[in-house]
Protein backbone atom coordinates (compact mmCIF):
# COMPACT_ATOMS: atom_id res chain seq x y z
CA UNK A 1 0.00 0.00 0.00
CA UNK A 2 1.31 3.41 -0.96
CA UNK A 3 -0.31 5.20 1.91
CA UNK A 4 2.94 6.53 3.24
CA UNK A 5 3.35 9.43 0.80
CA UNK A 6 6.56 10.63 2.41
CA UNK A 7 8.76 7.54 2.44
CA UNK A 8 11.87 7.38 0.24
CA UNK A 9 10.56 4.10 -1.22
CA UNK A 10 7.40 5.85 -2.38
CA UNK A 11 9.40 8.57 -4.12
CA UNK A 12 11.73 6.05 -5.73
CA UNK A 13 8.70 4.26 -7.13
CA UNK A 14 7.28 7.58 -8.33
CA UNK A 15 10.52 8.37 -10.12
CA UNK A 16 10.34 5.06 -11.99
CA UNK A 17 6.71 5.63 -12.96
CA UNK A 18 7.58 9.07 -14.32
CA UNK A 19 10.36 7.70 -16.52
CA UNK A 20 8.04 4.98 -17.76
CA UNK A 21 5.29 7.44 -18.67
CA UNK A 22 7.87 9.69 -20.34
CA UNK A 23 8.94 6.71 -22.46
CA UNK A 24 5.35 5.90 -23.39
CA UNK A 25 4.76 9.54 -24.41
CA UNK A 26 7.86 9.42 -26.60
CA UNK A 27 6.72 6.21 -28.29
CA UNK A 28 3.24 7.68 -28.78
CA UNK A 29 4.86 10.67 -30.50
CA UNK A 30 6.70 8.38 -32.90
CA UNK A 31 3.42 6.57 -33.55
CA UNK A 32 1.67 9.90 -34.29
CA UNK A 33 4.28 10.84 -36.87
CA UNK A 34 4.20 7.38 -38.44
CA UNK A 35 0.41 7.09 -38.66
CA UNK A 36 0.21 10.52 -40.35
CA UNK A 37 2.16 9.08 -43.31
CA UNK A 38 -0.11 6.04 -43.64
CA UNK A 39 -3.08 6.30 -45.99
CA UNK A 40 -6.01 5.20 -43.84
CA UNK A 41 -8.46 5.75 -46.66
CA UNK A 42 -9.46 9.30 -45.90
CA UNK A 43 -7.74 12.37 -44.55
CA UNK A 44 -10.49 12.73 -41.93
CA UNK A 45 -9.65 9.32 -40.47
CA UNK A 46 -5.98 10.28 -40.23
CA UNK A 47 -6.96 13.45 -38.37
CA UNK A 48 -9.22 11.47 -36.05
CA UNK A 49 -6.53 8.94 -35.16
CA UNK A 50 -3.95 11.70 -34.70
CA UNK A 51 -6.21 13.59 -32.31
CA UNK A 52 -7.10 10.40 -30.43
CA UNK A 53 -3.42 9.70 -29.75
CA UNK A 54 -2.99 13.33 -28.67
CA UNK A 55 -5.90 12.98 -26.24
CA UNK A 56 -4.40 9.82 -24.76
CA UNK A 57 -1.02 11.55 -24.40
CA UNK A 58 -2.61 14.63 -22.81
CA UNK A 59 -4.54 12.42 -20.39
CA UNK A 60 -1.34 10.69 -19.31
CA UNK A 61 0.32 14.05 -18.67
CA UNK A 62 -2.69 15.34 -16.72
CA UNK A 63 -3.34 12.17 -14.71
CA UNK A 64 0.21 11.12 -13.87
CA UNK A 65 2.51 14.14 -14.30
CA UNK A 66 0.00 16.60 -12.88
CA UNK A 67 -1.22 14.13 -10.23
CA UNK A 68 -4.85 14.52 -11.29
CA UNK A 69 -5.21 10.78 -10.70
CA UNK A 70 -5.40 11.50 -6.99
CA UNK A 71 -6.10 15.14 -6.28
CA UNK A 72 -8.33 16.87 -3.76
CA UNK A 73 -11.97 17.53 -4.58
CA UNK A 74 -11.64 21.29 -4.94
CA UNK A 75 -9.30 20.95 -7.93
CA UNK A 76 -11.84 18.77 -9.74
CA UNK A 77 -14.58 21.30 -9.01
CA UNK A 78 -12.47 24.10 -10.54
CA UNK A 79 -11.73 21.97 -13.58
CA UNK A 80 -15.38 21.05 -14.02
CA UNK A 81 -16.15 24.72 -14.66
CA UNK A 82 -13.30 24.91 -17.15
CA UNK A 83 -14.54 21.91 -19.09
CA UNK A 84 -18.04 23.39 -19.29
CA UNK A 85 -16.70 26.72 -20.55
CA UNK A 86 -14.34 25.17 -23.08
CA UNK A 87 -17.17 23.11 -24.53
CA UNK A 88 -19.19 26.33 -24.63
CA UNK A 89 -16.38 28.11 -26.52
CA UNK A 90 -16.20 25.32 -29.09
CA UNK A 91 -19.98 25.38 -29.42
CA UNK A 92 -20.02 29.13 -30.07
CA UNK A 93 -17.58 28.71 -32.93
CA UNK A 94 -19.59 25.79 -34.22
CA UNK A 95 -22.61 28.09 -34.42
CA UNK A 96 -20.76 29.96 -37.15
CA UNK A 97 -21.52 27.10 -39.53
CA UNK A 98 -25.23 27.71 -39.04
CA UNK A 99 -24.67 31.11 -40.68
CA UNK A 100 -25.93 30.71 -44.25
CA UNK A 101 -23.35 33.20 -45.52
CA UNK A 102 -20.48 31.18 -44.13
CA UNK A 103 -21.78 27.73 -44.97
CA UNK A 104 -22.37 28.85 -48.56
CA UNK A 105 -18.79 29.83 -49.26
CA UNK A 106 -17.09 26.82 -47.66
CA UNK A 107 -14.94 25.02 -50.21
CA UNK A 108 -13.35 21.65 -49.94
CA UNK A 109 -9.72 22.73 -49.53
Amino acid sequence: MAHDHDSPEYFAKQSKTIWKIGGILGLATIFTVWIATVDLGSHELNIGVGLLVAIVKASLVALIFMHLKSEKGLVYKVLLFTVVFVIGLFFLTWLGFADPLISKVIQNY
Binding site: D6, P8, F11, Q14, S15, I18, W19, I21, G22, L25, G26, T29, T32, V33, A36, S42, H43, N46, I47, G50, L51, V53, A54, K57, A58, V61, A62, F65, M66, K72, G73, L74, V75, V78, L79, F81, T82, F85, V86, L89, F90, L92, T93, G96, F97, I102, S103, V105, I106, Q107, N108, Y109
Partner: protein
Protein backbone atom coordinates in the same frame (compact mmCIF):
# COMPACT_ATOMS: atom_id res chain seq x y z
CA UNK B 1 3.83 39.19 6.85
CA UNK B 2 3.87 35.43 6.79
CA UNK B 3 1.91 33.92 3.92
CA UNK B 4 -0.25 31.17 5.39
CA UNK B 5 -0.39 27.58 4.21
CA UNK B 6 2.65 27.56 1.95
CA UNK B 7 3.74 24.22 3.33
CA UNK B 8 0.88 22.69 5.26
CA UNK B 9 -2.50 22.07 3.69
CA UNK B 10 -5.33 24.38 4.58
CA UNK B 11 -7.73 22.28 6.64
CA UNK B 12 -10.87 23.19 4.69
CA UNK B 13 -9.45 22.70 1.17
CA UNK B 14 -6.97 19.97 1.93
CA UNK B 15 -4.41 21.76 -0.27
CA UNK B 16 -1.63 24.24 0.29
CA UNK B 17 -2.67 27.65 -1.08
CA UNK B 18 -0.28 27.87 -4.03
CA UNK B 19 -1.74 24.71 -5.49
CA UNK B 20 -5.26 26.11 -5.55
CA UNK B 21 -3.81 29.27 -7.04
CA UNK B 22 -2.04 27.49 -9.86
CA UNK B 23 -5.05 25.32 -10.67
CA UNK B 24 -7.28 28.38 -10.90
CA UNK B 25 -4.70 29.94 -13.20
CA UNK B 26 -4.45 26.79 -15.32
CA UNK B 27 -8.25 26.66 -15.53
CA UNK B 28 -8.23 30.09 -17.16
CA UNK B 29 -5.33 29.03 -19.39
CA UNK B 30 -7.29 26.03 -20.64
CA UNK B 31 -10.11 28.37 -21.66
CA UNK B 32 -7.67 30.76 -23.38
CA UNK B 33 -6.06 28.04 -25.46
CA UNK B 34 -9.40 26.29 -25.87
CA UNK B 35 -10.81 29.40 -27.52
CA UNK B 36 -7.81 29.61 -29.84
CA UNK B 37 -8.01 25.93 -30.77
CA UNK B 38 -11.67 26.48 -31.49
CA UNK B 39 -10.71 29.39 -33.76
CA UNK B 40 -8.20 27.14 -35.50
CA UNK B 41 -10.81 24.49 -36.20
CA UNK B 42 -13.21 27.08 -37.58
CA UNK B 43 -10.58 28.57 -39.87
CA UNK B 44 -9.54 25.11 -41.00
CA UNK B 45 -13.10 23.98 -41.80
CA UNK B 46 -14.15 27.23 -43.48
CA UNK B 47 -10.91 28.44 -45.05
CA UNK B 48 -10.72 31.76 -46.91
CA UNK B 49 -8.70 30.03 -49.59
CA UNK B 50 -6.52 26.99 -50.18
CA UNK B 51 -5.24 25.82 -46.80
CA UNK B 52 -1.53 25.11 -46.67
CA UNK B 53 -0.93 21.52 -45.63
CA UNK B 54 2.43 20.05 -44.80
CA UNK B 55 4.29 23.36 -44.94
CA UNK B 56 6.01 22.90 -41.57
CA UNK B 57 9.06 20.68 -41.27
CA UNK B 58 7.89 17.66 -39.29
CA UNK B 59 11.32 16.80 -37.90
CA UNK B 60 11.53 20.12 -36.02
CA UNK B 61 8.11 19.66 -34.45
CA UNK B 62 8.92 16.04 -33.65
CA UNK B 63 12.20 16.91 -31.92
CA UNK B 64 10.50 19.72 -30.00
CA UNK B 65 7.76 17.34 -28.81
CA UNK B 66 10.35 14.92 -27.46
CA UNK B 67 12.30 17.78 -25.87
CA UNK B 68 9.21 19.01 -24.02
CA UNK B 69 8.22 15.52 -22.88
CA UNK B 70 11.74 14.95 -21.57
CA UNK B 71 11.65 18.29 -19.77
CA UNK B 72 8.35 17.31 -18.15
CA UNK B 73 10.10 14.24 -16.77
CA UNK B 74 13.13 16.21 -15.55
CA UNK B 75 11.06 18.86 -13.77
CA UNK B 76 9.30 16.06 -11.86
CA UNK B 77 12.65 14.49 -11.03
CA UNK B 78 13.75 17.88 -9.66
CA UNK B 79 10.69 17.91 -7.43
CA UNK B 80 11.30 14.34 -6.25
CA UNK B 81 14.93 15.25 -5.48
CA UNK B 82 13.67 17.99 -3.17
CA UNK B 83 11.17 15.62 -1.58
CA UNK B 84 14.05 13.28 -0.74
CA UNK B 85 16.24 16.25 0.30
CA UNK B 86 18.89 15.93 -2.40
CA UNK B 87 19.51 19.55 -3.27
CA UNK B 88 22.37 18.96 -5.72
CA UNK B 89 20.26 16.52 -7.70
CA UNK B 90 17.47 19.06 -7.73
CA UNK B 91 19.83 21.61 -9.25
CA UNK B 92 20.98 19.17 -11.91
CA UNK B 93 17.42 18.26 -12.98
CA UNK B 94 16.35 21.88 -12.97
CA UNK B 95 19.30 22.77 -15.17
CA UNK B 96 18.36 19.93 -17.55
CA UNK B 97 14.79 21.27 -17.72
CA UNK B 98 16.04 24.76 -18.49
CA UNK B 99 18.36 23.40 -21.18
CA UNK B 100 15.39 21.63 -22.79
CA UNK B 101 13.33 24.82 -22.71
CA UNK B 102 16.18 26.77 -24.29
CA UNK B 103 16.56 24.07 -26.94
CA UNK B 104 12.86 24.28 -27.70
CA UNK B 105 13.06 28.05 -28.16
CA UNK B 106 16.17 27.68 -30.30
CA UNK B 107 14.41 25.33 -32.69
CA UNK B 108 11.36 27.60 -32.66
CA UNK B 109 13.45 30.59 -33.70
CA UNK B 110 14.99 28.60 -36.57
CA UNK B 111 11.47 27.74 -37.72
CA UNK B 112 10.26 31.33 -37.41
CA UNK B 113 13.28 32.66 -39.28
CA UNK B 114 12.56 30.18 -42.09
CA UNK B 115 9.04 31.60 -42.35
CA UNK B 116 10.23 35.20 -42.45
CA UNK B 117 12.51 34.41 -45.41
CA UNK B 118 9.94 32.40 -47.35
CA UNK B 119 7.70 34.35 -49.73
CA UNK B 120 4.47 33.71 -51.53
CA UNK B 121 3.08 35.54 -54.55
CA UNK B 122 -0.56 35.64 -55.53
CA UNK B 123 -0.73 36.41 -59.23
CA UNK B 124 -3.50 38.43 -60.85
CA UNK B 125 -5.39 35.32 -62.01
CA UNK B 126 -5.19 33.56 -58.64
CA UNK B 127 -2.12 31.40 -59.29
CA UNK B 128 0.05 31.09 -56.25
CA UNK B 129 3.81 30.63 -56.38
CA UNK B 130 6.08 30.33 -53.36
CA UNK B 131 9.82 30.44 -52.83
CA UNK B 132 12.83 32.40 -51.63
CA UNK B 133 13.80 35.78 -53.03
CA UNK B 134 17.11 35.72 -54.88
CA UNK B 135 19.69 37.30 -52.57
CA UNK B 136 16.84 37.84 -50.10
CA UNK B 137 15.66 41.02 -51.76
CA UNK B 138 13.07 42.47 -54.08
CA UNK B 139 14.27 45.91 -55.15
CA UNK B 140 12.85 48.58 -57.38
CA UNK B 141 15.44 50.59 -59.29
CA UNK B 142 15.05 54.27 -60.14
CA UNK B 143 17.70 55.73 -62.40
CA UNK B 144 18.44 59.27 -63.48
CA UNK B 145 16.83 60.75 -60.37
CA UNK B 146 17.26 64.50 -60.69
CA UNK B 147 14.98 65.84 -58.00
CA UNK B 148 13.81 64.90 -54.54
CA UNK B 149 10.87 66.35 -52.68
CA UNK B 150 10.93 66.35 -48.88
CA UNK B 151 7.60 66.27 -47.09
CA UNK B 152 7.18 68.76 -44.26
CA UNK B 153 3.74 67.71 -43.01
CA UNK B 154 3.03 69.99 -40.06
CA UNK B 155 3.15 68.59 -36.57
CA UNK B 156 -0.22 67.14 -35.70
CA UNK B 157 -1.18 65.90 -32.31
CA UNK B 158 -2.75 62.47 -32.47
CA UNK B 159 -4.84 60.70 -29.88
CA UNK B 160 -4.20 62.04 -26.35
CA UNK B 161 -1.21 63.98 -27.65
CA UNK B 162 0.50 60.84 -28.92
CA UNK B 163 1.42 61.03 -32.60
CA UNK B 164 1.45 57.95 -34.79
CA UNK B 165 3.66 57.35 -37.78
CA UNK B 166 6.21 59.60 -39.39
CA UNK B 167 5.04 63.13 -39.92
CA UNK B 168 7.77 64.36 -42.23
CA UNK B 169 10.66 63.09 -44.34
CA UNK B 170 13.48 61.38 -42.54
CA UNK B 171 16.93 60.48 -43.81
CA UNK B 172 16.27 56.76 -44.42
CA UNK B 173 15.84 57.15 -48.17
CA UNK B 174 19.44 58.30 -48.48
CA UNK B 175 20.75 54.80 -47.79
CA UNK B 176 19.09 53.45 -50.96
CA UNK B 177 21.29 55.58 -53.21
CA UNK B 178 23.57 53.16 -55.07
CA UNK B 179 25.15 55.55 -57.56
CA UNK B 180 26.00 59.20 -57.08
CA UNK B 181 26.49 61.49 -54.07
CA UNK B 182 23.54 63.00 -52.17
CA UNK B 183 24.53 66.56 -53.16
CA UNK B 184 21.60 68.84 -53.79
CA UNK B 185 20.72 72.42 -54.56
CA UNK B 186 18.16 73.89 -52.14
CA UNK B 187 15.30 76.20 -53.27
CA UNK B 188 17.42 79.09 -51.97
CA UNK B 189 20.16 78.11 -54.40
CA UNK B 190 22.53 76.76 -51.77
CA UNK B 191 24.53 73.59 -52.57
CA UNK B 192 24.51 71.06 -49.74
CA UNK B 193 25.57 67.50 -48.93
CA UNK B 194 22.31 66.04 -47.58
CA UNK B 195 22.26 64.13 -44.31
CA UNK B 196 19.87 63.63 -41.40
CA UNK B 197 20.68 66.94 -39.73
CA UNK B 198 20.39 68.79 -43.04
CA UNK B 199 16.95 67.33 -43.68
CA UNK B 200 15.75 68.35 -40.23
CA UNK B 201 17.03 71.87 -40.78
CA UNK B 202 15.36 72.20 -44.20
CA UNK B 203 12.04 70.97 -42.84
CA UNK B 204 12.21 73.34 -39.88
CA UNK B 205 12.89 76.27 -42.19
CA UNK B 206 10.01 75.28 -44.50
CA UNK B 207 7.64 75.11 -41.56
CA UNK B 208 8.69 78.53 -40.36
CA UNK B 209 8.54 80.05 -43.84
CA UNK B 210 7.35 83.65 -43.92
CA UNK B 211 5.92 85.33 -46.96
CA UNK B 212 4.94 89.00 -47.05
CA UNK B 213 5.35 89.14 -43.30
CA UNK B 214 2.84 86.33 -42.75
CA UNK B 215 3.70 82.77 -41.67
CA UNK B 216 3.19 80.47 -44.68
CA UNK B 217 4.55 76.94 -44.07
CA UNK B 218 5.61 75.02 -47.16
CA UNK B 219 4.23 71.50 -47.74
CA UNK B 220 7.38 70.29 -49.44
CA UNK B 221 11.00 71.20 -50.06
CA UNK B 222 12.13 70.70 -53.65
CA UNK B 223 15.77 69.69 -53.98
CA UNK B 224 17.65 69.37 -57.24
CA UNK B 225 20.38 66.75 -57.52
CA UNK B 226 23.74 68.06 -58.70
CA UNK B 227 24.33 64.77 -60.56
CA UNK B 228 21.75 62.13 -61.60
CA UNK B 229 21.30 59.54 -58.83
CA UNK B 230 20.40 55.84 -58.88
CA UNK B 231 18.17 54.40 -56.15
CA UNK B 232 17.63 50.73 -55.36
CA UNK B 233 14.73 50.55 -52.96
CA UNK B 234 13.14 47.48 -51.35
CA UNK B 235 9.64 47.33 -52.86
CA UNK B 236 7.91 47.47 -49.50
CA UNK B 237 9.56 50.79 -48.61
CA UNK B 238 7.53 52.58 -51.26
CA UNK B 239 4.07 53.84 -50.47
CA UNK B 240 3.48 53.88 -54.22
CA UNK B 241 5.42 54.36 -57.40
CA UNK B 242 4.89 54.95 -61.11
CA UNK B 243 7.24 54.81 -64.09
CA UNK B 244 8.61 58.24 -63.23
CA UNK B 245 7.91 58.87 -59.56
CA UNK B 246 8.43 56.99 -56.30
CA UNK B 247 6.81 58.01 -53.01
CA UNK B 248 8.08 56.64 -49.70
CA UNK B 249 5.87 56.02 -46.66
CA UNK B 250 7.15 59.19 -44.99
CA UNK B 251 6.08 61.32 -47.96
CA UNK B 252 9.50 61.77 -49.55
CA UNK B 253 9.22 61.62 -53.35
CA UNK B 254 11.87 60.97 -55.98
CA UNK B 255 11.58 61.80 -59.69
CA UNK B 256 13.40 59.67 -62.22
CA UNK B 257 12.99 56.62 -64.45
CA UNK B 258 11.88 53.37 -62.91
CA UNK B 259 14.02 50.80 -64.74
CA UNK B 260 13.52 47.57 -62.82
CA UNK B 261 10.76 46.16 -60.63
CA UNK B 262 10.80 42.45 -61.41
CA UNK B 263 10.81 39.94 -58.57
CA UNK B 264 13.43 37.19 -58.80
CA UNK B 265 12.65 34.08 -56.86
CA UNK B 266 13.80 30.51 -56.39
CA UNK B 267 10.32 29.07 -56.67
CA UNK B 268 9.68 25.91 -54.69
CA UNK B 269 5.94 25.38 -54.98
CA UNK B 270 2.86 26.29 -56.97
CA UNK B 271 -0.74 26.16 -55.79
CA UNK B 272 -3.42 26.55 -58.46
CA UNK B 273 -6.49 25.63 -56.43
CA UNK B 274 -7.86 29.17 -56.48
CA UNK B 275 -8.34 28.94 -60.26
CA UNK B 276 -10.85 26.13 -60.08
CA UNK B 277 -14.53 27.12 -59.80
CA UNK B 278 -16.14 25.89 -56.58
CA UNK B 279 -18.73 23.81 -58.44
CA UNK B 280 -16.27 22.16 -60.86
CA UNK B 281 -17.04 18.43 -61.02
CA UNK B 282 -14.86 17.37 -63.94
CA UNK B 283 -11.20 16.81 -62.98
CA UNK B 284 -10.04 16.75 -66.63
CA UNK B 285 -11.59 20.16 -67.23
CA UNK B 286 -10.10 21.45 -63.98
CA UNK B 287 -6.64 20.38 -65.15
CA UNK B 288 -7.25 22.14 -68.49
CA UNK B 289 -8.27 25.26 -66.54
CA UNK B 290 -5.10 25.42 -64.51
CA UNK B 291 -2.98 24.77 -67.61
CA UNK B 292 -4.04 28.27 -68.70
CA UNK B 293 -2.74 29.83 -65.47
CA UNK B 294 -0.51 32.90 -65.41
CA UNK B 295 2.07 30.91 -63.55
CA UNK B 296 3.21 29.15 -66.74
CA UNK B 297 4.19 32.52 -68.23
CA UNK B 298 6.69 32.61 -65.40
CA UNK B 299 7.75 28.98 -65.23
CA UNK B 300 7.78 28.23 -68.94
CA UNK B 301 6.47 25.44 -71.15
CA UNK B 302 8.84 22.78 -69.84
CA UNK B 303 7.32 23.02 -66.37
CA UNK B 304 3.84 23.25 -67.82
CA UNK B 305 4.39 19.92 -69.61
CA UNK B 306 5.80 18.40 -66.42
CA UNK B 307 2.79 19.59 -64.51
CA UNK B 308 0.37 18.24 -67.10
CA UNK B 309 1.97 14.82 -66.83
CA UNK B 310 2.05 15.05 -63.04
CA UNK B 311 -1.63 16.02 -62.71
CA UNK B 312 -2.76 13.35 -65.16
CA UNK B 313 -0.74 10.82 -63.18
CA UNK B 314 -2.44 11.94 -59.97
CA UNK B 315 -5.87 11.55 -61.53
CA UNK B 316 -5.06 8.06 -62.82
CA UNK B 317 -3.68 7.12 -59.40
CA UNK B 318 -6.82 8.37 -57.69
CA UNK B 319 -9.14 6.47 -60.04
CA UNK B 320 -7.16 3.27 -59.45
CA UNK B 321 -7.16 3.55 -55.65
CA UNK B 322 -10.56 5.11 -55.04
CA UNK B 323 -12.74 3.87 -57.92
CA UNK B 324 -15.96 4.70 -56.05
CA UNK B 325 -15.06 8.30 -55.10
CA UNK B 326 -15.45 11.55 -56.99
CA UNK B 327 -12.04 13.19 -57.36
CA UNK B 328 -13.26 16.78 -57.14
CA UNK B 329 -15.01 15.98 -53.83
CA UNK B 330 -11.78 14.77 -52.28
CA UNK B 331 -9.69 17.37 -50.48
CA UNK B 332 -6.75 15.00 -50.76
CA UNK B 333 -7.07 14.83 -54.53
CA UNK B 334 -7.34 18.58 -55.13
CA UNK B 335 -4.57 19.25 -52.63
CA UNK B 336 -2.18 16.89 -54.41
CA UNK B 337 -3.23 17.51 -58.00
CA UNK B 338 -3.46 21.28 -58.14
CA UNK B 339 -0.32 21.98 -56.16
CA UNK B 340 3.16 20.85 -57.13
CA UNK B 341 6.61 20.98 -55.63
CA UNK B 342 9.16 22.53 -57.97
CA UNK B 343 12.12 20.82 -56.35
CA UNK B 344 14.74 19.70 -58.83
CA UNK B 345 16.78 16.52 -58.99
CA UNK B 346 16.70 14.05 -56.11
CA UNK B 347 14.77 16.41 -53.85
CA UNK B 348 12.10 16.65 -56.50
CA UNK B 349 11.75 12.92 -56.88
CA UNK B 350 11.36 12.67 -53.12
CA UNK B 351 8.88 15.52 -52.73
CA UNK B 352 6.58 15.06 -55.64
CA UNK B 353 4.24 12.14 -55.33
CA UNK B 354 4.56 11.81 -59.11
CA UNK B 355 6.33 8.81 -60.60
CA UNK B 356 10.04 9.54 -60.44
CA UNK B 357 10.36 9.13 -64.20
CA UNK B 358 8.28 12.26 -64.66
CA UNK B 359 10.94 14.43 -63.19
CA UNK B 360 13.83 14.45 -65.55
CA UNK B 361 16.00 15.82 -62.77
CA UNK B 362 19.21 16.26 -64.72
CA UNK B 363 18.03 18.43 -67.55
CA UNK B 364 16.01 20.66 -65.22
CA UNK B 365 18.88 21.10 -62.78
CA UNK B 366 21.13 22.10 -65.64
CA UNK B 367 18.52 24.51 -66.92
CA UNK B 368 18.11 26.10 -63.51
CA UNK B 369 21.84 26.50 -63.05
CA UNK B 370 22.21 28.06 -66.46
CA UNK B 371 19.40 30.46 -65.54
CA UNK B 372 20.62 31.40 -62.09
CA UNK B 373 24.14 31.87 -63.44
CA UNK B 374 26.47 32.36 -60.52
CA UNK B 375 25.85 29.22 -58.51
CA UNK B 376 28.07 30.34 -55.65
CA UNK B 377 25.62 33.13 -54.85
CA UNK B 378 23.01 30.70 -53.70
CA UNK B 379 25.18 27.89 -52.45
CA UNK B 380 24.68 28.97 -48.83
CA UNK B 381 20.91 28.77 -48.89
CA UNK B 382 20.75 25.70 -51.07
CA UNK B 383 17.89 27.35 -52.95
CA UNK B 384 19.44 26.52 -56.30
CA UNK B 385 17.67 23.17 -55.98
CA UNK B 386 14.72 25.18 -57.25
CA UNK B 387 14.20 26.98 -60.54
CA UNK B 388 14.82 30.72 -60.59
CA UNK B 389 11.88 32.65 -61.96
CA UNK B 390 11.26 36.31 -62.75
CA UNK B 391 7.82 37.69 -61.93
CA UNK B 392 6.77 41.03 -63.39
CA UNK B 393 5.32 43.53 -60.93
CA UNK B 394 2.20 43.85 -63.07
CA UNK B 395 1.45 40.14 -62.64
CA UNK B 396 1.61 40.32 -58.85
CA UNK B 397 -1.69 40.90 -57.07
CA UNK B 398 -0.22 40.43 -53.61
CA UNK B 399 2.99 39.13 -52.11
CA UNK B 400 4.24 38.62 -48.60
CA UNK B 401 6.61 36.56 -46.56
CA UNK B 402 5.04 33.85 -44.40
CA UNK B 403 3.71 36.15 -41.70
CA UNK B 404 0.12 36.58 -40.46
CA UNK B 405 -0.78 38.90 -43.34
CA UNK B 406 -0.06 36.09 -45.83
CA UNK B 407 -3.25 34.36 -44.74
CA UNK B 408 -5.32 32.87 -41.96
CA UNK B 409 -3.13 29.79 -41.68
CA UNK B 410 -0.07 31.81 -40.72
CA UNK B 411 -2.17 34.14 -38.57
CA UNK B 412 -3.41 31.29 -36.40
CA UNK B 413 -0.05 29.49 -36.61
CA UNK B 414 1.81 32.47 -35.19
CA UNK B 415 -0.90 33.20 -32.62
CA UNK B 416 -0.92 29.66 -31.27
CA UNK B 417 2.81 28.93 -31.39
CA UNK B 418 3.73 32.48 -30.36
CA UNK B 419 1.52 32.37 -27.30
CA UNK B 420 2.85 28.91 -26.50
CA UNK B 421 6.42 30.20 -26.92
CA UNK B 422 5.69 33.02 -24.47
CA UNK B 423 4.57 30.39 -21.98
CA UNK B 424 7.83 28.53 -22.45
CA UNK B 425 9.71 31.77 -21.76
CA UNK B 426 7.61 32.40 -18.64
CA UNK B 427 8.34 28.86 -17.44
CA UNK B 428 12.05 29.46 -18.01
CA UNK B 429 11.91 32.62 -15.88
CA UNK B 430 10.24 30.77 -13.01
CA UNK B 431 12.66 27.85 -13.17
CA UNK B 432 15.69 30.14 -13.37
CA UNK B 433 14.39 31.78 -10.21
CA UNK B 434 14.17 28.38 -8.46
CA UNK B 435 17.66 27.55 -9.61
CA UNK B 436 19.26 30.81 -8.48
CA UNK B 437 17.33 31.61 -5.31
CA UNK B 438 16.02 28.20 -4.30
CA UNK B 439 18.79 27.61 -1.78
CA UNK B 440 17.51 30.35 0.50
CA UNK B 441 14.04 28.85 0.72
CA UNK B 442 15.46 25.34 0.93
CA UNK B 443 17.59 26.18 3.95
CA UNK B 444 14.60 27.69 5.72
CA UNK B 445 12.14 24.91 4.85
CA UNK B 446 12.89 22.37 2.13
CA UNK B 447 9.22 21.44 1.87
CA UNK B 448 8.36 25.03 0.92
CA UNK B 449 10.71 24.91 -2.06
CA UNK B 450 9.41 21.45 -2.98
CA UNK B 451 5.87 22.84 -3.08
CA UNK B 452 6.88 25.81 -5.19
CA UNK B 453 8.67 23.55 -7.65
CA UNK B 454 5.63 21.29 -7.77
CA UNK B 455 3.42 24.26 -8.65
CA UNK B 456 5.91 25.51 -11.24
CA UNK B 457 6.01 21.97 -12.60
CA UNK B 458 2.22 21.92 -12.95
CA UNK B 459 2.47 25.00 -15.16
CA UNK B 460 5.29 23.39 -17.13
CA UNK B 461 3.23 20.23 -17.75
CA UNK B 462 0.42 22.39 -19.01
CA UNK B 463 2.80 23.98 -21.54
CA UNK B 464 3.75 20.45 -22.62
CA UNK B 465 0.09 19.48 -22.81
CA UNK B 466 -0.73 22.35 -25.17
CA UNK B 467 2.15 21.35 -27.42
CA UNK B 468 0.91 17.75 -27.50
CA UNK B 469 -2.15 19.09 -29.38
CA UNK B 470 -0.32 21.75 -31.37
CA UNK B 471 2.20 19.35 -32.90
CA UNK B 472 -0.18 17.00 -34.74
CA UNK B 473 -2.65 19.78 -35.53
CA UNK B 474 -0.15 22.14 -37.18
CA UNK B 475 2.55 19.80 -38.45
CA UNK B 476 0.74 16.65 -39.46
CA UNK B 477 -2.82 17.48 -40.51
Amino acid sequence: MEIPYTVKARPDTGLYNAKIGVWLFLASEVMLFGGLFSAYIFLRLAPEGPWPVGVLKVHWGFINTLVLIFSSVTVLQAWLALKTRKFNQFRMWMLATLACAAGFMGIKSVEYSDKFHHYGVLMQDGSNIEGHLVDNKYNVTFENVKSVSLSTKPQESGLFGITFGTLASDAKFLKYITKGEPKFKTPAGEEIFLDSAGIKKLIKEARENVEDGKPKPLAAVQLTALEPLTFEVPEGKFFDYTATKGVFHDGTAIDGQMTHDTMHMHADKIDLRRLIPADEQDPERAIQTVLKADVWKVLGDEWKAKYHEYATGQLKHFHEHHPDQKPMHSGDFTRHTFTMSLALGEEGAKHAAAPAALLDGKSLTAAAEAKSGEGEHHAAGGHHDYPEVAIKKGDIAFYSNFTPKYGNYYAIYFTLTGLHGLHVLAGMLVMTHFLLFGKRIYDKDPEHLANRVEVGGLFWHFVDLVWIFLFPLLYLM
